[in-house]
Subunit: 312 residues, 2 copies
């Protein structure tokens, strides 16, 4: 019986692989370095196929017992056609039919999707979102994104570009954003923005968000305020989504979510106070559970859901 | 063969009824006055049943050829259980099992839903949204709402409260809103806000939005500016939705949409400029087509979709 999947999580610096069972448990892992140059695109696909084979061999798993390979990539992914339309921070990937290219090399069905979508799928079925039908899984990091589960299904949008929570504007006349918008959510809570803000407040060019986290935990008032201000923006950003989509759950993940405990109360208070009553009373806000493994585990969910859909 | 539906559109002042064929055409109409007092709730249901019978008799339509009655109401409606949870501006309607009450009186299957959802359904199948799978139908009036069609299905939210586009904040420190939020979209483009703004600008307490519309069409610069400023807020409000949901279409309806031509260019420019490239290039913004009939016609879509779903 086919019961395993291979999860692949492509990042800007490295590629994580995992052999995952039907319960969403990662049985074995490996890592590749992401070669960030366009010439090596085919090489990368070769290495990926090779790494998958080794991962299976190491665990003595036969190729026939693998349902599929699920690949999460940071960019715009045409999930239906299996094409990487473009990647963020990895050059040379434009309209690459990754699904068919990889499938040819390894003869296992391949599924590809946006990395945040895979994180959302993972948290939904095996993490903080278990049992919910309408939820938003937000990732707070350099970028701010989200995966949206509505009516028990991942919502990808007309052109697979839905979920850009980081680019919902918080202020009409806010700072200009890389995306060409103004006052985007990400302009207030993206980690590079926060690092720059912290450097100013603490007059230290080399400060990291971990330092501000430690300072706050040690009782430093400016550091506590720093996280509360960040939390206020997060809360304000969520108010709009909560009113518009009336979700049952919001899962907060990503790097900055490590400071979740420092932000939790303010986020919850703002949503309860500023969102509409029915929506506010109904929504639960929680921290993500699967950490950096969410994307790998999400591959299992992506593949199960895709197979389920094909049956229909 | 059952081929007709009865559409019922409940408003604060009156209730519109229509006999609708399978092509979404209204064959016959009637109107009731909405009695705005709690004692008359049962009376109202009696009158409604009576009015429906008369509507059918007048057209010589037998009760057996009616698929169902679709009722749109301004408030929070539990579509699945057929219960009116609460109504806006009509008192005395709390947790009323309207579906079963009306069904008992008239022996035709009854379906109830939020009025803006019915408008969205009507525009989707028979109006400006024909053929689209992912669209948002916004109503601009005293209130600003929306109905959201995602993956070819109306999205209602966990508690049937989704679509509150008017209460997505445009500014974190904006004016306080009735909903308890701050800087809500509706605070900038709701018609009562606009009337008050016009009264100030034109130093005329009795000015109506129609007057400002006429002034703008006559070339009055302040009136033209008035609609351009309104349009800028509408555009800014849509940017967030476009980035988050990546819809293919946005349909703009409701009273203020009469000024759509005066606002169209600014709305489109702002969305093209401020939304993310992929989402912006993909989304079309159009004016609603069915006018005040959208809700009645939407009853046909509600009933067809509900019957289709039950079959599955």
């Amino acid at each position: 019986m086919k019961k395993y999947v291979i999860g692949v999580d492509v990042g800007g610096t490295n590629i994580k692989l995992g052999l995952i069972n039907s319960l969403g448990k990662i049985l074995s892992r490996s890592t590749l370095i992401t070669c960030n140059c366009s010439q090596t695109k085919n090489k990368l696909i070769d290495s990926l196929a090779e790494a998958i084979k080794i991962l299976l061999q190491n665990k003595g798993v036969n190729i026939d017992s693998v349902l599929g390979i699920g690949v999460g990539l940071p960019g715009l992914i045409n999930y239906e056609q299996g094409i990487v339309t473009s990647l963020t921070n990895i050059s040379g990937w434009r309209n690459v039919p990754l699904m068919s290219l990889l499938q040819k090399k390894i003869n296992i069905p391949v599924y590809i999707d946006n990395d945040v979508n895979l994180i959302a799928l993972g948290e939904w079925k095996f993490g903080a979102g278990k049992g919910y039908n309408n939820l938003l899984c937000m990732t707070l990091g350099t970028g701010v994104g989200s995966g949206i589960i509505l009516n028990g299904e991942l919502y990808r949008g007309e052109g697979f570009a839905a979920g850009e929570l980081g680019h919902m504007p918080l202020n009409e006349k806010g700072p200009s954003c890389n995306c060409s918008g103004f006052g985007c959510f990400e302009c207030y809570v993206g980690s590079s923005v926060l690092v720059a803000k912290a450097a100013k407040i603490f007059k230290n060019k080399n400060i990291k968000l971990e330092d501000v986290y430690d300072l706050a935990n040690g009782g430093n008032i400016r550091a506590v305020q720093f996280w509360e201000e960040t939390a206020a923006h997060v809360g304000n950003g969520l108010v709009g989504v909560v009113n518009l989509l009336n979700p049952r759950l919001i899962v907060i993940g990503g790097g900055i979510s490590k400071s979740y405990k420092l932000m939790q109360k303010v986020i919850e208070d703002i949503v309860k106070k500023r969102a509409m009553k029915i929506q506010a009373n109904m929504v639960k806000i929680v921290r993500a559970k699967l950490g950096d493994d969410a994307g790998l585990i999400g591959a299992q969910v992506l593949i199960s859901a895709s197979l389920e859909k094909r049956k229909k």
